[in-house]
């Protein structure tokens, strides 16, 4: 079972999408397991639906949208810090920096 604040866009997906902001420290149920949210998850951000290992493809809308650059545990945010495009380099250095500084 997944928290009702997380949307599964396609049954083939290994990520869920936050349909509202989920605050740091709140508990979140993903795949039947409850975890503590370590960092605020804004609306529209992706959360791993299950454990994903480095190199595995990320599926959203049932489509391959990139791959994991490190191991991602179920319930963790999936974004530029742990996944990459398999199409072309998509994020610019300043986006990286912005994300790192907000960690």
């Amino acid at each position: 079972m997944n928290d009702e604040r997380l949307l599964l866009l396609s049954p083939a997906d290994n990520v869920l999408v936050a349909i509202c902001a989920i605050e740091c420290g709140s508990s979140l149920t993903v795949g039947g397991k409850t975890i503590q949210v370590a960092e605020r998850i804004p609306l529209g951000f992706k959360v791993a639906a299950r454990d994903i290992t480095a190199g595995q493809k990320i599926f959203k809308y049932g489509a391959h949208i990139g791959s994991a650059t490190r191991d991602i545990s179920a319930g963790s945010t999936v974004h530029v810090h742990n996944m990459k495009s398999d199409y072309l380099p998509t994020y610019k250095p300043e986006v990286h920096a912005r994300h790192d500084s907000s960690d």
Binding site: L9, Y61, H79, K84, R98
Partner: protein
């Protein structure tokens, strides 16, 4: 088909059926626009719409668009308004319309004697034509005769989560009923061309789909427009292919039957990609200067109705075919509900599922085909834009292989 889903379409000579029976007043150059608008204005709530082409120089794309629009199944009669010295082939257009079995009249302002006389003559013609249209025969129309287009506009972070995938669910239901469904904007599909190609009904079409997106990528690069902006990452989008999937999700999950270009009407039901980016070297500027230009192209491909997802809140409608607006963002919906037909933002509030909203959109397509007015129709929206473009005809690999 049950009683509740029976559609009675307006029968046309070419075998197609319309879900509306509008009179279009058409200016053939910008210089004739005021006169055409004055003719149409008193009839604006009686199904009389204004369309036109502003250019004075000839353009085959615009001429073809105009032929297709004036013989669209939702159109019952056409009044052409010419200044007189523009290069648009008004006789050729009038002949095409006459051959289609529709009443047509051409008023040439320079011959008629100016603004006031042309407006008066035009209004008399429109009044009498509206009276005659009441006798247009109605025939039972099945869902597989419907052509539905989709284009999104005023998108935000919620568009790809709610309204776009909900339209995709509705497209799946429509294609399952053998209706024709058309999605477009190859420039927004950059990054998912291989994902899309995997859904092509045959390998030759897969190559055509990839080539169409590569053409769009080249075109936008020449125009100096990148695709993935830093702001996308702030909204939670990580990769180019993910961003494009948000727009692409409007297409649903059916197999893709073919690729068409503006003015091509698919001969059989199925899911089609409309390639809106011109062929050849970059000319005439942006492929589509706004959402309205894309709506006009979808209508020229036979679309009876347009599904229009919006997150930030677009208010547009269209001449000729009704526009159904699907609001992705619940806050936008609360602020602008009078302009919206569907509140897909309920999905974000846990009040509905994607499947439920997809079914609601499908049901609304049927109801609109039965005559229910959309919010933009009720509010009098009749936007229309047509500009210069150039296209090569589609090749044999673009259309479905006969079974």
């Amino acid at each position: 088909m049950t009683q509740a889903t029976e559609i009675f379409g307006y029968a046309r000579k070419d075998g197609r059926k319309g879900i509306r029976n509008v009179v279009v007043v058409v200016y053939l150059v910008e210089c004739a626009q005021h006169v055409a608008r004055e003719i149409a204005y008193p009839f604006r709530t009686r199904g009389v719409h204004l369309i036109g082409f502003g250019g004075c120089y000839p353009n085959e794309y615009a001429a073809r668009m105009m032929r297709q629009l004036c013989t669209h199944p939702n159109v019952g009669g056409v009044l052409l308004v010419s200044l007189g010295c523009e290069s648009f082939d008004r006789q050729g257009l009038a002949e095409t319309i006459r051959d289609s079995g529709r009443p047509v009249e051409t008023l040439v302002i320079q011959q008629t004697g100016g603004t006031r006389k042309t407006v008066a003559l035009g209004r008399v013609w429109v009044e009498s034509t509206l009276g005659a249209l009441g006798a247009t025969p109605r025939q039972l129309m099945s869902i597989d005769e419907l052509v539905i287009g989709t284009v999104c506009g005023g998108s935000d972070a919620t568009s790809g989560l709610t309204a776009n995938p909900a339209v995709g669910r509705a497209f799946d239901l429509l294609v399952a009923e053998r209706a024709t469904a058309i999605f477009e904007e190859t420039g927004e599909l950059i990054g998912c061309e291989h994902i899309m190609a995997a859904r092509a009904s045959n390998p030759a079409l897969a190559d055509v789909l990839v080539a169409a997106v590569e053409k769009a990528a080249h075109y936008y690069t020449v125009l100096g427009h990148g695709s993935f902006a830093p702001g996308n990452a702030d909204g939670g989008l990580t990769t180019q292919e993910e961003k494009s999937m948000g727009a692409y999700s409007k297409s649903g999950s059916s197999r893709i039957s073919g690729l068409i270009k503006p003015g091509d009407v698919p001969a059989a039901g199925g899911l089609y990609l409309l390639d809106v980016v011109p062929d050849g070297e970059v000319r005439f500027g942006f492929p589509n200067i706004n959402d309205i230009a894309e709506i006009a192209e979808l209508i020229a491909c036979g679309s009876h109705l347009i599904l229009f997802p919006t997150g930030r809140g677009s208010v547009v409608g269209s001449a000729i075919s009704p526009v159904v607006k699907i609001c992705a963002n619940p806050e936008t919906y609360r602020r602008m509900s009078e302009d919206m037909d569907v509140n897909a933002g309920r999905i974000l509030e846990g009040a509905a599922t994607l499947d439920a909203v997809g079914r609601e959109i499908f049901d609304l397509v049927v109801a609109t085909a039965q005559g229910r007015r959309t919010t933009s129709e009720s509010l009098g929206h009749q936007e229309f834009v047509l500009t210069y473009k150039s296209f090569e005809p589609i090749g044999p690999a673009c259309l479905p292989v006969p079974a």
